[in-house]
């Protein structure tokens, strides 16, 4: 009888590849059905579980490529990116990068990796920590502290995305395919993804607002972030952008930047 570790390694090899079952077969009492067929039940169950996890996380990718092609992608993803957690919520983390590196996926659907990325960010937003905005973070903006020296604490669910494609319009269209299809020459899109009242929300935003949010996410002050926004568009309006974030509860607090010693 092999040791427990040897046996589990043999079983894992048989799960990974049909033709690597010979190591574990002698340890199995296969009966009339046979050890290989019995191992196949587990192999199929594992593949189905992994496929379902990806389908649940990437419904728009599934809608865009269809079930048979999605399943082929899922099998190859599973071979190249084995699960590293007992929690399947983590399983799709590398799926957008995998699609990006799969010519058979992105040649016919060039925006597919960006859609996958958007869906993964939606998953992150859905599962992110809760945060209750300060009673009225706007007070800081009228307090004695120079508002441009403030840092913003953003809602933990807030994610941002920049794409060379109209990715938010395509994603909306996947949800309502009866609507007119977006045109790829509608150009690049930036947007935000977050959670509000338990539901994931998303919206396209101006590239300058995207640069502003990215700078805040990187720990910059309002002044740093405003400069990032103005670098994209000289008409960037700090107060309008801030109000948009505050109205959605996406800035939960402001803190003054520590003075340099």
């Amino acid at each position: 009888m092999p040791s427990l570790r040897e046996l589990q390694r043999g079983f894992a090899a048989a799960m990974a590849m049909h033709d690597r079952a010979e190591g574990i077969v002698p340890a199995i009492d296969g009966g009339a059905i046979g050890a290989s067929a019995r191992l196949g039940i587990y192999r199929n169950a594992i593949a189905a579980t992994r496929l379902r996890a990806l389908e649940d996380t990437f419904p728009a990718v599934l809608a865009l490529v269809g079930a048979p092609f999605f399943e082929r992608l899922a099998v190859r993803y599973s071979d190249l990116n084995p699960s590293r957690s007992g929690d399947l919520c983590d399983y799709g983390a590398r799926f957008p990068q995998f699609i990006e590196g799969s010519p058979e996926a992105i040649e016919p659907v060039p925006y597919l990796a960006d859609i996958a990325n958007l869906e993964w960010l939606r998953q992150e937003a859905a599962l992110a920590a809760d945060a209750v905005p300060a009673p009225d973070p706007r007070w800081c903006l009228t307090a004695a502290v120079d508002p441009r020296r403030l840092r913003a604490t953003l809602h933990p669910s807030l994610r941002s995305l920049r794409s060379a494609f109209p990715v938010f319009a395509i994603h909306r269209w996947c949800d309502t395919p009866a609507a007119p299809a977006p045109r790829l020459d509608d150009g690049p899109e930036c947007g935000l993804i977050w959670r509000a009242d338990g539901e994931v929300a998303e919206t396209a935003i101006h590239p300058a607002s995207h640069a502003f949010v990215e700078a805040l996410r990187g720990g910059g002050t309002l002044a740093d972030a405003a400069a990032a926004g103005e670098s994209q568009d000289e008409l960037f309006h700090l107060r309008d952008c801030l109000d948009g974030l505050l109205d959605r509860g996406l800035i939960v607090d402001f803190t003054p930047r520590a003075r340099n010693p």
């Binding site: 390694r9 039940i41 007992g86």
Partner: protein
């Protein structure tokens, strides 16, 4: 940061509850149907925040709760995943469930997770490892856990029967057993043993909870095979075995698991009521 639950631990009554799955959460929250208790999969609440936690906070107020894990991989030769254990501890601290349970199976080796309840060899080495791991988990959680016997589609050449293996693990660990009666029946068909012998091999007094579920009988194979599909009503054979189990172990909190082709909430509650009626009849006999 850990958040201690604001709510006292509710005892789980000796009646039948349901495994609460996503399609029924909204209705259970809104209508608060008279379900004796709820069990949820621990890993479905591993996220830092979000709608699932908001729902569970409320459900915890309205119902006794059990956390049932499927991803800890108790029987792996790999060490337990410390991150998984930390997330489970945070969940247990937050919701203070009445029961916390896991499976007598493995699911990961050399860092790769197969996200399934894979069968263990019924050997002294595997039993000893499980006893150590149960101790490690109970130490990490600061509380006892229950362990569940799993269904299987193959068995390894072994040093003891499955029932002897399970009995040895619960005896040496001092851990209570979550007896899945459907799994006993499925394995009895898949591996050709008498399920009553299995029940007789489990010591009286160790069973703290019972699971029931539906299964699928495969056809066209050279010998009988049942898949533990959790996608149907409890079969007549499993109800009969359940009656024998509660006759032997006494009436115990029981749970209906239904994870695929999930029926209406009414159907699920009716199925749980069928188990509760059997528990009440058994209790009358015991009185």
């Amino acid at each position: 940061m850990r958040r201690a639950s604001q709510h006292p631990v509710k005892p789980i009554p000796v009646r039948a509850g349901i495994g609460l799955r996503a399609p029924h959460v909204t209705r259970v929250l809104a209508e608060k149907p008279p379900i004796p208790w709820l069990e949820v999969h621990s890993e479905n609440y591993f996220a830092a925040g979000g709608a699932a936690h908001a729902a569970l906070e409320q459900l915890r107020v309205d119902y006794p709760l059990s956390l049932h894990g499927v991803g800890l991989s108790l029987g792996s030769a790999d060490p337990l995943d410390p991150a998984h254990l930390r997330r489970l501890r945070a969940l247990v601290d937050r919701y203070q469930p009445t029961f916390v349970s896991e499976h007598l199976s493995w699911g990961a080796i050399d860092g790769t997770h197969w996200n399934d309840l894979l069968p263990l060899p019924h050997t002294r080495e595997a039993a000893a490892l499980l006893v150590d791991r149960i101790d490690e988990v109970e130490e990490a959680l600061g509380r006892p856990i229950l362990v569940e016997n799993v269904s299987s589609y193959l068995r390894f050449h072994a040093e003891m029967s499955e029932a002897e293996f399970v009995a040895e693990v619960v005896r040496r660990s001092g851990c209570a057993l979550l007896l899945d009666v459907n799994n006993v029946y499925v394995n009895s068909v898949n591996h050709g043993f008498d399920p009553s012998d299995y029940l007789r091999a489990i010591p009286i007094g160790v069973v703290a909870e019972i699971h029931l579920a539906g299964h699928t009988r495969k056809t066209g194979l050279p010998e009988p095979l049942i898949i533990d599909s959790h996608d149907d009503f409890v079969s007549a054979e499993v109800w009969a075995l359940y009656e024998r189990a509660i006759e032997r172990f006494g009436p115990r909190p029981t749970l209906i698991e239904w994870d695929a082709r999930i029926p209406s909430l009414e159907t699920l509650i009716e199925e749980a009521d069928r188990a509760t009626r059997r528990l009440e009849a058994c209790r009358a006999e015991f009185a």
